[in-house]
Amino acid sequence: MASIPKITRLQAQEEAKAWNPQAIWQPPSSTQRFFDRLFRRMTYVFAGFTIVLIALLVVEIAIKAIPAFREYGFSFLAGRVWDPNKGVFGILPEIWGTLYTSLLALFFGTLFGVAAALFLSESYLGEAVFRFLKLFDLHFHPFWGKLPERLEALLKNLIELLAAVPSVVYGLWGLFVVIPLIRPYCNWLHTHMGWFPLFSTDLSGPGIFPAVFVLSIMILPTITAISRDALVSVPPKLRMAAYGLGATRWETILGVLLPTASRGIFGGVVLAFGRALGETMALAMLVGNANRLTVSLFSPADTLAALLANNFPEAGAKEIPVLMYAALVLLAITLVVNMFGALVLERAAGKAAAK
């Protein structure tokens, strides 16, 4: 223990006289005020930079695309041939491929993603574990009793961590695991139900279906995380009121919880759609890169992002403006979808706050 230095009464009085409050608290000096102003300006400028950045991204790509736009105009969007040697370019198959794969992946991703979100938000896992523990009379045990909650949190974190797995890894998995695995079943479908347009070709390697399969797995964590948040933030009194009126659990879910959370879920689905549209690597590896306009699930096709990824590294001077034009189309599609999604989520948050 440090000893406190003893001072006489006189010394204390002397010190009190010498004490200058100005030395401790004082108005900011002019230098400090200058730095304050500088700092404020800087945050202002940096914040404005974000808006400028979006404008810059659009302008940069648009300017580089102008030569191609002059040459091909809007017929570029409707052309079906991509031949650098003849100088003929069209991206209709790519636009179709982008929308087709994303919408299919969105359908499966939403179906399974919302189901998983319901499973998590209704804490089915916790309930099952609790019942299991009750058999052994451990449900209030200091360690085992906490297991239901812990497992729930673990499952939720695991699903969120899986969203962090890079897309190129999913592509690798799709290429070497999924395609060999599903190929016999797909070809069986083709030989027995080939008259149905969706199965009209056989799967000889990469194709739309493996791409959709992997893409829906990739967007599932996004949909699950956002939908779970939306479901959890439904006010508990609504659920209690529904139970109080005698509704069963699923009548409550379908009649009260899902409609109340629908806006948040919808916003999440739109954001996932934007992600699926812009997803590059998994598709470039799995979709087959064939310039084909098709509805068959097992045929190779192409998407805008995959087209860019495959052609940019070896593009000649003549091809670059054309690719920039294709990038501009992709940019327009994703910006519209993302803005729509951000607006919907903002509205949903506003409504939730108003309650």
Partner: protein, 325 residues
């Protein structure tokens, strides 16, 4: 009947009247008109059966959704783990048909590019976050900035590459690590802005008010009170952004390209040359018809996923340590 209130003592006529009333009531069935069969919770009743069936369907769908997710991790460990050795981290990528080899230069390239991107993004993103957290609620600029960073969150990664290609590769005349880093920083920016905004606005208002009350300027309050208090949350955001950037392939394909050599080959560190990265290595090697290259791609995928997940977990541990004020 035991919990009836004691009957007040009244005259004989009144009291007998009361007893008659009670008897009449007791004879009447209070549950008249209620069908107990309807209330029974039994799987034979359509309403409860419907509920149980849907519960099973949802459970089944969740398991079906989780199986592929875990299959990815399992295959990574199984196929990538077989090849794991120290050589992977020190050797250069092998030529076709050559055995052995590694991807040390790709790990270095990824780390360097992500580091440069972080250096670009953190000052920009954190200061924008400060601006958003400090701006008044009705500020139109803040609203626009917030909205545009949300839009940037969903910006396709390949378009960041296209932008960096047009703005840097074409201008400087060659593929480079700097171009790759710029492309990555566009993807990191929105995450850092949004997380640092929420971290700073979670600092209790009383701390900010105390600082201003003692005569600190706005800048002093931000540097000495807000940023140190919000640091764990900001660090979480930075780590999440780093984890995302490390796994990105598309923006690097035609900005940093790929290289079979070390970043510092030729004696000095040169950021203006084509640079290898783990993600691009996985993509390139997965398309090759050689067994050794495909195995290396799996091993690289395992290393990349482990790096990304560790970065993620470190980031999350920062916000878990945060002191509850």
């Amino acid at each position: 009947m035991s919990d009836l209130k004691p009957v007040p003592i009244k005259g004989p006529e009144e009291s007998s009247d009361f007893i008659h009333k009670m008897e009449a009531q007791a004879e009447k069935n209070p549950f008249e008109g209620v069908s107990f069969e309807d209330l029974e919770v039994s799987l034979y009743r359509p309403r409860t059966a419907f509920s149980a069936i849907l519960t099973w369907i949802v459970t089944f769908m969740t398991i079906a959704a989780l199986v592929p997710l875990f299959a990815v991790l399992w295959m990574l460990i199984w196929r990538g783990g077989k090849k794991l050795s120290l050589e992977l981290f020190t050797a250069l990528p092998p030529a076709p048909l050559e055995q052995g080899g590694g991807f040390g230069n790709a790990i270095l390239g990824t780390v360097v590019m992500v580091a440069v991107a972080t250096l670009i993004t953190v000052p920009l993103g954190v200061l924008t976050g400060v601006f958003l957290a400090q701006a008044p609620n009705n500020s139109k600029l803040a609203g626009a900035v917030r909205f545009s960073s949300k839009v940037l969150t969903g910006f396709p990664s390949i378009l960041a590459g296209v932008f960096a290609y047009g703005a840097i590769v074409l201008v400087t005349g060659g593929y480079s690590a700097i171009a790759g880093a710029v492309a990555l920083s566009i993807l990191m920016l929105p995450t850092i802005i949004l997380t640092s905004e929420s971290a700073i606005s979670m600092v209790p208002a009383r701390m900010k008010e105390a600082s201003i009350g003692m005569g600190a300027t706005g800048a002093q309050t931000v540097w000495m009170v807000l940023l140190p208090t919000a640091a764990p949350g900001i660090l979480t955001g930075v780590m999440l952004a780093i984890a995302r950037a490390a796994g990105e392939t598309a923006p690097l394909l035609f900005t940093a390209l790929f290289s079979n050599y070390w970043l510092n080959s030729g004696g000095h560190f040169n950021l203006m040359q084509p640079t290898a990265s783990l993600a691009v290595l996985i993509y390139n090697f997965s398309g090759m018809p050689f067994k050794n290259q495909v195995e290396l791609a799996w091993a690289a995928a395992l290393v990349l996923v482990v790096l990304v997940l560790i970065t993620n977990l470190i980031g999350q541990s920062f916000s878990r340590q945060q002191v509850q004020l």
